[in-house]
Symmetry: C2
Subunit: 205 residues, 2 copies
DNA sequence: GCGTGTGAAACAATTCACAGCG
DNA sequence: CGCTGTGAATTGTTTCACACGC
């Protein structure tokens, strides 16, 4: 199947499947049915079968899916079997938390550098990194082949910094700043906004 | 319109509209058309008009929407015009970042308490809070009328703690732990998973 | 028998396009 | 004339239900 005809909602569910397969493997499961996996992930079994069918036939009729095999296939599809170089812009509390978040490295996302525009923060160590000045942004992206940027800065600066990241070669941005980034179509953007999540929930309360 | 017939995707977009209206107001805009707001938010103008129509008629034909009026209506709908009491479980790097994140208070989400199961962390100050032991969870929820819980703990503990939160009266959970929580239907859950967001992006790279 | 993979059917969301009103 | 609000049309997503193969 070609990239362009897999719906984006499907791509967003694939990581959930991968995560559950990982958990199942850790618990010693060798085989899993779509029904069992569905229960684990919180979706319907038909949805899992349909989603996976976009990429091939991974199961065995009457049996289910081999956990290790399906996991390796999902890792290949999501490209989590190769190393990615990531940088963070913003050395505040969020930047700290992200750098200390071990799950990134566990999933092959290596935090290569952290930047901040505040001269008082430049030079400070955070985890295994040292805060660099914004002037070194482009060089670092190109020298270390950074493909992904994380924006952990206030909204005011985010569009400008995002433009710079893209200009220097970054192709995906995880945006923690509360605004809609306008970027070229071929740049992937994911947006995390805890306040928006809260507001959606309080609607129902 | 009744709650139950407004699609969930619409509810998830409402906070984006509110945020942009806030920005527009800060920039001095008095009136905004669906086209202009759409540009700001990154959706189509028809979608904005359709979404808003679920809740009433807020615009003026030939003119657009009064920024302040629409904003106040969205705040009412999302219930961001009332104070909410929030607690955090997990006093790690993420817990620190969340406590220091001023946007919560700005939007009427007051962090009332932080808990951790690690005795070494109990008693430590974080921002304006002091880390409490898990044994005080239920009492605090009930005494301070906490409606929302944030899980900033490892996946292993998350289901157990979520069950406890719900048992003690919490009605919405913002879940940072990488697993699917199984909870009663009337409990709202939002899930934030940076790794899943990354994995969806690297699919396309 | 069991559970996948998949067309067909049902359902949901988005876009279109325009009547209607200020 | 400009822009909202909204049915109708389109497009997209999920569920159903069953043929097929282990």
């Amino acid at each position: 199947m070609r990239t362009s005809d897999v719906p984006e909602v499907v791509i967003q569910r694939m990581p959930l499947y991968l995560r559950s397969l990982n958990d199942l493997a850790a618990r010693g499961a060798k085989v899993v049915s779509s029904t069992a996996l569905a229960h684990e992930v919180g979706v319907s079994s038909a949805q899992i079968r349909k989603d996976l069918s976009h990429f091939g036939e991974f199961g065995k009729q009457g049996l289910g899916y081999e956990v290790d095999y399906l996991r390796s296939q999902l890792e290949r599809i999501l490209q989590t079997d190769t190393q990615w170089h990531v940088l963070i812009v913003g050395a505040g509390a969020l930047g700290h938390a992200l750098i200390n978040y071990r799950a990134f490295e566990h999933w092959n996302y290596y935090l290569s550098a952290v930047f901040d525009s505040d001269p008082a923060k430049v030079g400070q160590p955070i985890g295994h990194l040292t805060v660099q000045p914004m002037s070194e942004l482009c060089n670092t992206i190109q020298e270390r082949h950074v493909e992904i940027g994380i924006l952990a800065i206030p909204a005011e600066a985010a569009q400008t910094v995002a433009d710079e990241l893209v200009h220097c070669g970054v192709r995906a941005i995880l945006n923690y700043a509360p605004l809609h980034l306008v970027l070229p179509e071929d740049i992937r953007v994911s947006h995390i906004d805890p306040v928006a999540s809260m507001q959606s929930m309080t609607y129902y309360l």
